[in-house]
Symmetry: D2
Subunit: 345 residues, 4 copies
């Protein structure tokens, strides 16, 4: 049994991770920590998990976690992970960071977009960007995994084959993304109140959202040249789900079949990616680690519209973290990960 | 492997059952049938289950199902099951009926409340009311199980220990129950439209809801005398969940401890019932086979308020059907049944 | 033009009041105050009212308000109103308090249920309980109006004719009430977050909710004897609306016609009460000052189920406050008050 | 008093129109018609309007309507209006068509996108596209007004000043629009069920939505050259609201101030358009005839993101129809039209 610790276990991503790990056959939860709720029982904070995860919450102390754990999951605010990960720690444990601190290879870009100092830039070159469908081979056996963001997982996976195979004009990419409200976290903010979110939709972070450079980094790598994207997230009145609708000019002469082949080549054997002919809807992936992807070509405009959907807390956070753990430790990649959605859920 | 068939697989209860069985280690789905969608792929109707349940849907033919299956689940409109179950069939297969046809022991009560003829009353004495927490021993090895209704499961389990132990005045019982909208089914009805359900709550079936006699039958049996209840269901703008808030006059002299003991005696070792101190919320059981129950005593009024919550499609339908199958066939009772809720889900 | 002030204008009730008054033909908003947002523009806090209410918010200073206003509306936390209303103030202005401080005639009951001291009990006998359909004559020309609570408005109006005419056993009253989430206010509380409220229903304040004594006071007065009620509120995932489902034993021999007559006698000429044959749904009164009421008699149990629905922010707060103002000042009672609901809204 | 008739009064747009007209000081509803519900009382179909609109519904007979009415509003399925409007009728009444039949100037484009024959193309040149903020002068005194679609109203108004003033590359326009579910109408369709819409977001009509040519017609006219747009609508789990997020390449050298000036020039004196600095949210215009518009320029990509929000049933349908009637008949343009939004509503 792999011994697992979670720091930041009472945020939504951390809690979903605790739930998934509690049903994972090869792992044992040995250290559940929460800054806000240390000393309380996890299932008193999340009564839905009573009977499944009843551990008493510890302090967010990564070194204590390391005394017990083979793998430590970090679900912490930006800037915190980078200040507590050390060489000594990594010699002892695998660290899978659900936060943003190790996702961007370039310290300067991180500090510019996150407006906070990076405390351990020396690990940036070691950290692997944990998007298995693209970087699976690099993830195996590694000790520091940067688990991708929710919008980014969905947007990158939707666009990757198009960029990789040179099928679109990379200067024309627009990503209009929509997220359920759990993506805003469990903080007690006015803008997260039911009465402020319900019965409305709004864009936010227009031109400035922090997931932008993460998408650009991965697409640039796939393209072999610098890619800049327009990325606009929206808040949708629903609990979970991310939908990325991506627009780009299709390269002249590219056919529907070419696009289909590119997706099949990239994802044909992926167990969590469903290439569908219909249009993605977030409900079809809710509660699962799946990604639904499809596309349409508009002959009138010359655009391709590529669409992807995920569950922000599963494939966009906790599920992908488990998937990464499974890969690092050589387990079945889908162990502990739901792959069909209840209807309606 | 137990071979399972579902008739009526494309209603919400049938589809949830297909999903649960697709993740059940000891069963194999051999016959999925749908009157409306025969010939189509199940996952084209329920794209969330693509990859998990891709069977082509068959005609709703119970005899063909019986050629392949050890257990047949019926998720059919009222009156249909009673016209297709035969002695010959039951000699070959176990039948678990998610509908109402075999729940009421008395044909006349059935016909009065359901306003339809019962076509096979001879089986009424054989059919077991499949509420495991009350009738587990009777369920084992039986061949015809009447799976309880959603409101009834929640209401009976919430009230049963109080009635059984004689702690309340059985002439004073009022059940004010609330249900998510999936309980109204997948029919294309005006009253089920998003724009007609959203942002509103309403009672319905006031004094006339068909689940009333089912609750009365079970509580009468527990009380050893005839019990009549006031039962008022409500439609709530949410996908899933049932909350039963039950009011009754507490018998003079009964203490909080007495009530606590009654619940512990009835359910202390039940894996799917959580006796909690806090107040049930449907979200804490969503997607699970769990029942959360608690109570409050009001010294000012002399009432007890007993509250229970379930997921109407799981413990209130498909999950309980799987639980019954597990019991009939001697499997682990919780095999294939989720026991912790995602937050938020 | 009547000059109006609002203290606590940026809570949901205060804001709805500002909106209603901005469309009222006979009033002018002269002083809008907010403790949290003083100095900011009202429409920066409530952008939906940009162009309609653009006043800069003042400090919550009742004496400054009194310098400008003929009527001061208070939408303040419990205990605050009772500490700022003075004889001198009342000599100058009419005060309509949307809070609870002057609703209960008995200081001790107030202090017991609200667990806070009452600072001006001398006004309790002067304050009029501002439920126009019951106390209209008493409201006319008064200077201190205690605007009823949301649950209480709905529950009292639903039960009043039954109690007044002696049609029910007043020892058997159970009120199972449901409220939209705006009733929880605009405070930044974990339990008010979208992800904590959505897709769930829960009872709360079971046996202890502060609206209980208010209901009991009014029903006792109507009955001419002490009435104690069981009152259970619920939180529903919707923005607005209150539904009160009230259960009681019908007195032997009382017919459907008797009940119908009692309601017609009490409310036959009321412009805001709609006595309907169908079942109330909160959506049909959303955004309006209306009350929809109907009932069912259950011959099997001997119970009557009386049901009422209102919009908690309009008839349950701001709308009723405007209605009270209209009565006090002798204006058309329905001026400024919407009386039909958009569908769907 | 202007005498008004509505054909198709029981769809959501028709019903909202009935509601708005019932509160309009200068109009009298003389003929309310519904194909599905003729003979029933309007308020039995829409109980929220009981007391406000209690008329008995007539047959959808435009000639009978013309016997009584000065203005006839049509809220009918595509293709129906064009088969019943005649010269004789227009000589007697003003017709305001909320449907699509007279919006497109080119019969061929209509027939291509709507896949139905146009029955009275001779009126196409006479019909005025009733978007007052652009075509106000043309609307005055006319007898046939084509009321714009919901998505189109929002998208055109958001983009118009940019196109008119030549600030964007018109070959780069992408409109990603989101709509509440009332936009799907009141038909009993599987895809409109609560359980199918709730907790999900999906694009639909990708590259093929019928509102596309309407947007293109108006933007082409503004640009003075042919404009083709990418238009992608989405279904959002909320009752009302449309959000149009429009992307385009900004012409080199155009500054934030230039854009601001263009909007001010186009809409500076418009009473229903609010040019805001913050980001539009549909809740801020819910229930109103308002349009909220703002924009952001992205220096990194060279794009402008222009965003607009409306209520699809008010400014996107019934409200705009009333606004058009007000203009045609020389009334106050905002008579009967709500201009501030309840919060939360």
């Amino acid at each position: 049994m792999i011994k697992a610790a979670i720091l930041g276990a009472t945020g939504y991503a951390g809690a979903e991770l605790a739930r998934l790990l509690s049903g994972h056959k090869e792992t044992e939860l040995v250290y559940l920590a929460s800054h806000s709720y240390a000393g309380k029982r996890f299932s008193d904070i999340y009564p839905g998990m009573k009977g499944a995860v009843d551990d008493v919450l510890q302090e967010d102390d990564i070194n204590k976690a390391a005394e017990h754990a083979d793998v430590i999951f970090l679900a912490l605010p930006a800037g915190l992970a980078s200040s507590i990960v050390t060489e000594k720690l990594l010699e002892k444990c695998v660290v899978i960071d659900l936060g943003a601190d190790y996702r961007l290879h370039d310290k300067n870009i991180y500090e510019k977009w996150y407006k906070t100092e990076h405390h351990s830039p020396s690990f940036l070159s070691e950290a692997v960007y944990g998007l298995p469908e693209i970087h699976r081979e690099m993830i195996k056996g590694k000790r520091l995994i940067a688990n991708p963001g929710c919008y980014t997982t969905c947007s990158i996976l939707t666009l990757y084959p198009l960029v990789k195979e040179g099928l679109i004009d990379t200067e024309s990419i627009i990503i209009d993304a929509k997220s359920g409200t759990s993506g805003a976290g469990r903080g007690e903010k006015l803008t997260s109140l039911y009465s402020e979110v319900n019965e409305s939709i709004k864009p936010y972070g227009v031109t400035t959202h922090r997931h932008t450079p993460e998408i650009e980094q991965e697409l640039s790598e796939a393209a072999g040249k610098s890619v800049v994207v327009e990325f606009t997230p929206h808040l949708v009145p629903m609990n979970r789900g991310i939908l990325s609708v991506c627009y780009a000019k299709l390269v002249k002469g590219i056919s529907d079949g070419d696009v289909r082949n590119a997706y099949a080549k990239a994802y044909g054997t992926e167990r969590f990616i469903r290439l569908i002919d219909t249009i993605p809807e977030t409900r079809y992936v809710k509660g699962t680690n799946l990604v639904d992807i499809s596309f349409r070509i508009n002959e009138r405009t010359g655009n391709i519209i590529a669409m992807g959907a995920i569950d922000n807390l599963v494939k966009g956070a906790a599920g992908q973290a488990v998937q990464n753990m499974n890969i690092v430790f050589g387990l079945d990649e889908d162990e502990g990960l739901p792959a069909s959605a209840g209807m309606p859920m």
